[in-house]
Symmetry: C2
């Protein structure tokens, strides 16, 4: 399944490695391997010993934990270009959540030891990592803020906006997980709230939902709708490619 070129392109496209040198990317690609996971496949379980981290080439992965009460907490839903499991390096090499492919997904896994080596020997990469961490921190702040200030329809709109190229204001399509209840769980909504809020969002912004695909004719209209209850500017600074 693995072709070095395919891996290099996917790695170069990822948020964590988009500023890395070609030499470093070749090294990661050489040590990485791509696997196709079926829907429902568990990649690792919370508190497992961590040896590798992961980069989604395509598909959707749910990161989650369970409480003593037996409830499931969805930590995140990750898709193309996003990594997961790398934070284990700073958590005693233990995964801090479980990971499940919720759709058929192609995922690249890379040894954590390679990341550790770069941290120990590549000051430029360490700086990238510090900036990356700062952007994640701000992203989490934003998410916490949105849970207070955005209504449910705005939160769904915001989730969609973060999946598109925000520089292109024209027509665009988004691929969501087929079962939208995963998105509801990620956004901390009950299924019935999510369904009602999605209906409202379609009415107010004219987006169209066709199975797993969302068709957006006017990105500006969607951002006007969702971002007025956000304290950050659109386009989202943490998603900018330069």
């Amino acid at each position: 399944m693995k072709t070095d070129h395919q891996l290099q392109v996917a790695i170069k496209d990822s948020i964590l490695f988009r500023d890395s040198s070609d030499a470093f990317i070749s090294k990661i690609a050489a040590k990485g391997s791509m696997t196709h996971y079926k829907k429902g496949k568990i990649l690792f379980v919370h508190e497992d010993q961590a040896k590798r981290f992961f980069l989604v080439k395509n598909g959707w992965v749910k990161l989650f934990r369970e409480t003593l009460d037996g409830e499931q907490a969805v930590v995140d839903m990750v898709t193309s270009g996003q990594t997961f499991g790398e934070a284990a390096l700073f958590q005693d090499n233990i995964y801090t959540y479980s990971a499940e492919a919720i759709e058929a997904s192609d995922i690249i896994s890379i040894p954590l030891s390679l990341l550790q080596f770069e941290i120990d020997n590549n000051p430029k990469f360490v700086k990238t990592l510090l900036f990356y961490n700062a952007s994640i921190r701000q992203l989490k702040d934003k998410e916490i803020e949105h849970r207070s200030l955005q209504n449910a329809s705005q939160r769904i709109g915001c989730f969609m906006l973060r999946l598109v190229d925000q520089e292109k204001l024209g027509k665009t399509n988004i691929h969501l997980p087929y079962d939208k209840m995963f998105v509801a769980a990620k956004l901390g909504m009950k299924p019935e709230t999510f369904s009602r809020a999605l209906k409202r969002l379609k009415k107010d912004t004219k987006i169209r939902v066709k199975g797993a695909t969302i068709e957006i004719d006017n990105l500006q209209q969607l951002s006007d709708y969702a971002c007025r209850a956000c304290s950050f500017e659109f386009p989202c600074a943490d998603l900018k490619k330069d």
Copy 2:
């Protein structure tokens, strides 16, 4: 107002610098200065140019932003031992929120250039920073999780538990901001929800609220109550001192 020894103790007590060498702490103390701020004093405004970061010696500071809709988003409420403003180093030296002392507070300010110097020259500090970032990231994940899974009383209990020495299971007191509506805003609750939830929490866990002081007779009882709807173990790993 400034005494080097006072500053050194406060810096050594902070989460960010508790693992730092005495030499580094002396350096920070030498360049830092302590100021007493009155209640209501604005320290800086969102998008101000950032030259210094801050460490709370005692008191409470609210970090916040405003949305286009004119709503205020409380990013965080910080108190003794916590820093703020340091993330500006990774955000083009711009503060990503406003800061207001919501009680009379003693606050140490330190040049960001000192932090930048250490990042460029002290690999040990960079590693501390990476671990610190990972713990903040997990903390934010936890907060997002709690907004989905904990009820309002559990969330208030959790907020209190994070302010005490969790290793001591006996009697303890906590100092909250005098105006508890700041806590409500930090937890993303409407004032009336907060009041009802606090009443419920007092009834269920026998804590006593006396003005700004919370008296807890049995920490275990409070943690049993709040932490059953959390996927992390008590005591909170990110607060451990070793």
